[in-house]
Structures are given as structure tokens and as C-alpha cells.
Amino acid sequence: MTARLEVEDLHVRFDTDEGTVLAVNGVSFSVEPGEVLSLVGESGCGKSMTALAVLGLLPPTASRSGRIRLEGEDITRLDEKALRRIRGRDVSMVFQEPMTSLNPIFTVGYQIGEVLRRHEGLSRSQARARAVELLDLVRIPAAKQRVREYPHQMSGGMRQRVMIAMAVACNPKVLLADEPTTALDVTIQAQVLDIMRDLQHELGTSVVIVTHDLGVVAEVADKVVVMYAGHVVEAGAVDDLFANPQHPYTLGLLGSVPRPDLVLADTQNRLVEIPGMVPTLRQPPSACVFAPRCSRADDPCLVRMPELVETASGQYAACVHPGPERARQPEVIRS
């Protein structure tokens, strides 16, 4: 069976006046129908660029290589016209900032309807009726009245639900969600995630959710891809990855999340930070990209960037010293 969405050896680079920036370096993953894949990482690790690259929406200074297959068809080769048929219908996207992702001058009903009229050829009144159904689907109360309202009359959570309604209007095969809950209150986050998960069950949509919030990952994801400096450093099923993290970076991410359910003796329940920042790659790395921040780093790590290999059943990590052990903790965290 062919995967719903398959990204293979994706590279994105920016050629700017200040030099080249390698934003995404050889990222591969696949999503099956009805599956939720989460791209995780710190700011600047290339996760959003990966999502934008799928839709061919990179800024003009970016260049992309690699293959992106939608149900087996390579969409990197499509021209703008063919891409336009895919955007919003087969692959749609939810953005991070609900306050600015709706046009302030149109009613939400009009904005949802616009997508339907374009892709499904619905009439104005059909589109309006369908917009009401969709608002109902994302649990907006009094959808019949709300459909006539403008974005400024809605709260951030409601707007994000409107965005989701818009994104699923044409029953897309793949829904890309770029930090869909980051700008929302925690209670609203849970609601929005619930809605996304329900929709994904009902419609069989494959979801790629970009986030830095491991709570969100635990909540919705089936598979996780951990990214660092444009590289995939670990990938696997969500339960395995949380229970048995292989890459020290994943370990660090997990250690920096408050988890009242897990009392870790060696840290005295302190949150562990990862020292340093994500580097900006200007040339292909000659060592492990994480080595400067890694507690396990030693000479073999500095030879070359390790390949992604299966380190435990179904789990892949790009690390010379994989494994969940916390043998050597860096000094900083004990202070």
C-alpha cells in the first residue's frame, strides 16, 4: 500500500545575501491514511519549513529538492496550476496565529464558502449551508448565527476552529497544522486538539502536526519525528519514543517538560534544560549537529553527521550513542 503522504530526502536551502542557510537537510517521513504524525523540535529546527515545502509555499529565496509523494504521485514536479488544484482540496493547512489567519473584512461563512465554491463548485447558498455544517462540526455554538459574523467578533479559540473548518471543508487527504494550538489558552488547546482528533477519525484525514509542545504530541500523535537543525534525529511511534527515547536530544526535550507523573531521582524533579541554542547550518555538517550541546558527545561524534538507523524495534535515531540511559548528565543541570 502506498502511503498517503511520503516525504523523501527533502532539502530546503535559502540563498540570502548573508550566505546560504541549510534549513531542511534530508528529511524523510511518511504518513498513512488516518494517521497523525508530529514534527517536533525547537524554534528554527526546520519543522515549519518542512510543512510549507510540502505545499510548495516556500518563500522565493528558498530552493527545495527531494520527493514529496501524495498517494504515490510526486507533487514536486507539478506546475503551479496543478498545485493549485491540490492546495486546499487534497492538502490543506492550519496556521499558528488564529488572530491573523482570517481576513478581517469578510464573514467567516464567506471565507469558508470561498474554498468550497472554488474547489467543489458549490453555489453561494450551498456553500453557505455547508459552512454552517462545518462550523457545527468544529463545535461552534449557534453556527447559523455565527456564520454571518466577522473574525473580530470571535475569540482566538473560535477563530482557530473556523480555520480548521476551512481546512477540512473539502475533506482533504492531508491536513498540515503548523503549531495550531500555540497561540491558545491551555483549556482551549485541549478543545481544539479534541476536535482535530475527532475530525481525523471521522474523515480519515492524515494529519501532520508541527509543534514544539510535547504535551500536544502525547495527546494526538501516532508517530513522532524529532527534528534538530534541519535533520531528523529520531523517529518512531509516539509510545515507544516517550517510553524509550533513543536520541539525547529527544531525551533533553522530554526532560524539559514538567511531568508530575514521572519522578526522576537523579534530577530531584528539576526541569532539565538543554544548554545552548539550535545552530544555523551554513554548510553540510562535518560532525553530529547536536554534539556541541550533547552530554554524550565524544570523538566519534565529531567525525561525521550520523545516519538515521534503527536503534530499537521501530525506532530510528541519528546518534552515535543511542539509548535511553541517562548515564552522563552534563554539569549544568546539577547546579
Binding site: 505545499l55 509555499l57 522565493p60 493549485r84 488544484r85 491540490i86 492546495r87 486546499g88 482540496r89 490543506s92 493547512m93 496556521f95 499558528q96 496565529e97 491573523t100 489567519s101 482570517l102 481576513n103 478581517p104 473584512i105 470561498e114 474554498v115 472554488r118 474547489h119 448565527q145 459574523e149 466577522y150 473580530h152 467578533q153 480555520m163 476551512m166
Partner: protein, 291 residues
């Protein structure tokens, strides 16, 4: 209950709020009143005017204001000054509005395309804008009007060309900012064709600054039109225009100062009205979408 009613009629409520914000500024209201009066005069000038504006009467030349039958006096050909002033409103206002609207229609798509696509097209448009802007507005207008030949429409075209770069810059700058908004991105994701994104999604969102510039551009063009007709490059006699009247009055400034004062006053008051109105409008529209 009232809160719910207000909630369900947000557009009305917002419009009311804007109107209040406008009416709380006396200069703006005075400006609006002036604009309304000027437009009214322009529309109904021949009906209001006591005499035929072009009818000369050599028995009553250069009568002083307050002369019987001639409230503002007469000009060097014995024509009623009040009538000429009223009818002259038409030429001045037409030139001002036509020039500005023409500039708006031509410039906005150019500016929007430049701001949206960036790259070489933006470079070409921006540099061309700089070149045109490097000429003083009036010098450029005079030069162009001289090339095009004297007529009201040509004067308006000349003045429009002078204004085009200003509108291009505004449209470009606004679009440049808007294209980074996520709802524009969202429209791209939802496969909206570029022309739909530009003119349906973006244009209404940049109207505010454009409208304000229109209210600034019209008085500038009115002055420009007066200058052109003063130089004989605008409306041709005997059709009255404020600038033409000024140039006719020039030779008689010592004997009949009022002859020059009244058209000058008309120009000054009209431009002042538009500018006050524009200022008020900017204050109202500048408060972006925030509720």
C-alpha cells in the same frame, strides 16, 4: 438585552463608533461641511449663479464688491464675479477629482503587483516611482500639460501622472505588509488565484490609507489645476476657472484687488476643507480593525 442587540449588529455599531470619533473633531466636521458645500456648488452652479458666467457687459467693468446687482463685483469684461466663481468651481473640482481618481486607478494595481511579487518588477516600479517623484509635482504637471496641449482633460492627466507615484508607494507598502499576514497565506493555501488574493482579499484591506491619500490628493490637484489654468494650460476661456480668473485679475491688482482675492480665497477655502476632512478621516480610519 441591549448588549446582545449591539452584538448582533456589529457593523452598525462600528459605523456609529466611527461617526462619533469623527464628529468629536470640530475641524473635521468643518472640513466635511466645506467639501459638501463645494460639491453642491459644482453640481448646481448654473442654477445658483445670478448671471450667465460668460456674458460680458462693457458698461459695468471692474465694479467693486457690493455694487447693486453684483455682490462680488465684476471683472474686466463686466462679467459677474460671483457667477464666474460659482461656475468656476466645476472646472477646478473636476480637474482635482479626475486627476486623483485617474492616478488612483492606474497606480493601485501597479503598486499592489510590485508589493506582492517583489523581485525585479518591484525594482522597476520602485525606481520608476523615484524618478517621477524626483521632479517637483507642479513642474512636472506644467511640463506634461504643455506637451499634451491645453485642455481640462489634459491638465487632469498631467496632474494624475504627477500623483501616480504617491499612490503606487502607498499601495506597494501596504501590500508588502499584508502579504505576510497569515490570512493571505491561508488564501494561497486554499488555492485562491493571485488576482482574487490581490483584489478581493487585499484591496479592501488597504482602502483606508488610499482614501486618506485621495482627500489629500484632490486639494493638491485643485491647486495644480489652478496653476495650470493660470498659465493658460487648463480650461480655455471663456469657461471660467479659478486659476484663469487669477491670471486675468493679475493686471488689475492695483485697481481691483477683489478681482484676484475672491478666486484665491475660493481655492484656499476649498483646499483647506478637503485637508481638514482628510485629517479627520485619517484619525478615524487609522485605528486598525481593533475593536
Amino acid at each position: 438585552m441591549t448588549a446582545i442587540a449591539a452584538e448582533s449588529q456589529p457593523r452598525v455599531a462600528r459605523r456609529g463608533r466611527m461617526r462619533r470619533r469623527f464628529t468629536r473633531r470640530p475641524p473635521a466636521v468643518v472640513g466635511l461641511a466645506g467639501v459638501v458645500i463645494v460639491v453642491f456648488i459644482a453640481l448646481f452652479a448654473p442654477l445658483i449663479a445670478p448671471y450667465d458666467a460668460s456674458a460680458s457687459n462693457y458698461n459695468d467693468i471692474l465694479l467693486a464688491p457690493g455694487s447693486p446687482g453684483h455682490l462680488l463685483g465684476t471683472d474686466d469684461l463686466g462679467r459677474d464675479l460671483l457667477s464666474r466663481l460659482l461656475v468656476g468651481t466645476r472646472a477646478s473640482l473636476t480637474a482635482g477629482v479626475l486627476a486623483t481618481v485617474l492616478a488612483l486607478v492606474v497606480a493601485v494595481p501597479i503598486g499592489m503587483v510590485a508589493g506582492y511579487f517583489r523581485g525585479w518588477i518591484d525594482l522597476v516600479v520602485s525606481r520608476a516611482t523615484d524618478v517621477v517623484l524626483s521632479f517637483p509635482f507642479l513642474i512636472l504637471a506644467v511640463g506634461l500639460a504643455a506637451i499634451l496641449g491645453p485642455s481640462l482633460v489634459n491638465a487632469a492627466i498631467a496632474l494624475a501622472i504627477g500623483q501616480v507615484p504617491i499612490f503606487v508607494r502607498i499601495a506597494r507598502g501596504e501590500v508588502l505588509g499584508l502579504r505576510e499576514e497569515e490570512y493571505v497565506q491561508a488564501a494561497v493555501v486554499n488555492a485562491a488565484p493571485t488576482r482574487v488574493i490581490l483584489f478581493r482579499h487585499m484591496l479592501p484591506n488597504i482602502l483606508g490609507p488610499l482614501v486618506v491619500q485621495v482627500t489629500v490628493g484632490i486639494p493638491a490637484a485643485i491647486i495644480g489645476a489652478a496653476v495650470l489654468s493660470f498659465l493658460g494650460l487648463g480650461v480655455q476661456p471663456p469657461t471660467p476657472a479659478w486659476g484663469t480668473m487669477l491670471s486675468e485679475a493679475q493686471q488689475y491688482v492695483s485697481q481691483a484687488p477683489w478681482f484676484a482675492v475672491f478666486p484665491g480665497l475660493a481655492i484656499a477655502l476649498t483646499t483647506l476643507s478637503f485637508n481638514l476632512f482628510g485629517d479627520g478621516l485619517r484619525d478615524v480610519l487609522d485605528v486598525r480593525m481593533g475593536s
